[in-house]
Symmetry: C2
Subunit: 396 residues, 2 copies
């Protein structure tokens, strides 16, 4: 159950820290550590980009044995496109962290985010790891969340408390990401911890499913990143066990995890680089779910639509255009388009509605665009934001 205005804290048996190691030139926080007092079950979902960062490769290798004690993160440098030296740096980051925490290197998961290309400054990272281990505590979640940020304007934290078999269970998630955000993962990192006990196979399955419905449904600029990573650690400290044989408990846990991932994903879109509007694109009535998804993504990723949403002119023609070139069956004459509850297009042409009503409908900061294709039962939703001049300024 979600509690409003709840203070964010870790589940039992987790601690963390966030420090400045001098990787970012402005001296802001740039290294984070999330630590479990006991060995936790671990699972991960990673970028599908063929060009992926050294820490992603390392995490995949470490998760072949699905247990971990710690997640260590640096921001500022992505350690992507860094070749053999980059792989050595990622491995060193794991082994140095393991030394500090008295665990095995394979029990450390490593993440990096930031500039692609440069090598990690391993001297700074080394000193940073010592400082991280020294300052690890139960109440450092704010600085931990801040230390993983890059172009984010605010940190992203979510918590859910549930009851499993009479035992209190918590799930806490952190995320970062604001640009290079595209379905199938993005320049985003998300770390979820829980004090429930979950079997590795089940943990991987519920995480993958939650990611599909959340992080894989958002897009800021259509660029898939080299470093996207979602990790979950379940340390069992609460004593509660999530089992698929217990449908009620399993359902409660899955729901909470889905909500955590969804909320974090929405926070990322809302913090989209330079964006000031949150846009939900729903496609209904496609011939299949896949086609609904393709049509929704075409609209959400269309630069002409994203720039239109920076204004208040109801440019529904650009939506028609985008679904027309999507790899989904479209019959122009059957298309209806709604801004919120206001119908802008009926049967492929402008609905009988005044320009004033349409401008009002399209001026909502939280814009819901619903497209009915009228061809079948396939439905899909994608969450995105507008593209403003500020996006260009940030990315020049």
């Amino acid at each position: 159950m979600k509690k409003e205005n709840q203070q964010i804290g870790w589940p039992k048996g987790f601690r963390s820290s966030g420090i400045s190691a001098g990787i970012k030139v402005d001296g802001s926080l740039d290294m984070a550590l999330i630590y479990s007092d006991v060995l936790a079950t671990a699972a991960g979902v990673f970028t599908t980009n063929q060009v992926c960062a050294a820490p992603v490769k390392l995490c995949r290798a470490h998760l072949k044995e699905p247990h971990a004690r710690a997640i260590v993160v640096n921001s500022g440098v992505a350690n992507a496109c860094t070749g053999k030296a980059g792989m050595e740096s990622a491995a060193l980051m794991a082994s140095q962290t393991a030394d500090e925490l008295a665990c095995l290197p394979e029990e450390v998961l490593v993440c990096s985010t930031g500039k692609i290309g440069p090598q990690l400054p391993m001297e700074k990272i080394g000193s940073g790891l010592v400082a991280l281990a020294d300052s690890v505590a139960i109440d450092q979640i704010d600085v931990t969340a801040q230390a993983i940020m890059t172009t984010d304007t605010r940190s992203k934290q979510v918590v859910r408390d549930i009851e499993l078999g009479g035992l209190a269970v918590r799930l806490t998630g952190l995320a970062k990401g604001a640009g290079m955000i595209e379905p199938n993962m993005a320049t985003m990192l998300a770390f979820i911890t829980t004090d429930a006990s979950v079997e590795p196979g089940v943990l991987q399955q519920v995480l993958s499913s939650a990611v599909d419905q959340s992080f894989n449904r958002i897009t800021v600029d259509g660029d898939q990143s080299t470093n996207d990573t979602v990790l979950i650690l379940a340390n069992g400290t609460s004593g509660a066990v999530v089992e698929s044989m217990d449908p009620t408990g399993y359902g409660a846990f899955v729901t909470a995890l889905n909500e955590i991932c969804f909320d974090l994903a929405m926070m990322i879109v809302r913090d989209g680089e330079g964006a000031d509007r949150f846009v939900t694109v729903v496609v209904d009535g496609a011939q299949s779910i896949d086609e609904a998804d393709l049509a929704a993504r075409a609209v959400a990723n269309s630069l002409l639509n994203k720039t239109a949403w920076a204004g208040t002119y109801p440019d529904w023609g650009r939506i028609m255009d985008a679904i027309g070139y999507a790899a989904a069956q479209v019959d122009e004459e059957r298309v209806n388009i709604f801004y919120g509850t206001t119908q802008a297009v009926e049967g492929g042409i402008q609905a009988a509605i005044s320009m004033e009503e349409m401008v009002k409908a399209v001026s909502e900061v939280e814009l819901l665009i619903r497209i009915e294709l009228g061809l079948g039962t396939g439905s899909a939703t994608v969450y995105t934001c507008n593209c403003t001049e500020a996006y260009v300024q940030i990315n020049v």
Copy 2:
């Protein structure tokens, strides 16, 4: 043979006009007519968008009989997503033009470009058609080219003179387009005329091939339009005949047509909305031509790359990222990337080169980016431009 500083004129037997019919609110030129004194062979290539404008549907129908006397164009309103009323307007535009020119409606090809959604103002169009017919002349090519513009900052005209069997033959082309430009056609119109005689089947074939190598290789913003149209009229007035049985003459004609289309396409990219840099993306060494094409388009359409090219920072990591998510096989460790002749990436990591050299290489207004995948012999080139804050301003 291309002649420099040559004055642009129509081939023999063509005339044209351009007027203001009051469709555009600022009173600028918004209707154009291209007219052949005799019935010409005609061919066309159109948008692949499933949502296509009424005039596109009408042109396709009229070209079932591949002959035409005239092309009539309006700018300001696209007559797209206008349903049955829009089809009637397009047909009326053809029949009214035919009345003025004393030809059959089926011999008139109609094009519209501009805003999607509104109906054509048929009263203004009707008066405009009379004015167009009244002012048609051999020396009105400048106003004709201007009258088809929308967000273009300059008109686009190209001419080639060749000799076929001792006879002088001319090809003259006009185009418009600056935004919504994406391979597989864009919000662009192009009209090519020639006084050679070419059989319908041959004309369609050489036009389709020329379009594939030119208009289908450019991208401004990745948005395919509802109205894209390339038309060619060959009226035979020169007396010269293009025949595939005459390889020399056929080759000269095809070369000239390819050059016309390529030059017009490059003019469109160079006039990309808000753009101030011209970027050529070459992918070599892909497993196939199709994969090279997909990788080149991923880079050219990546918003992060397009915004990077608005600055002078050598952000080659964004190129690596884009090829990594392209639907083309990429082996990170084999990738080389060059800015002009300067190698930025060698084997997937930064080449041994100073930042100064790299900044210098990436600061060229005409930027050539060459990507070697090292996997095969597939090669492809895409022409694009950068994305600046001005693009957002234009499209809000």
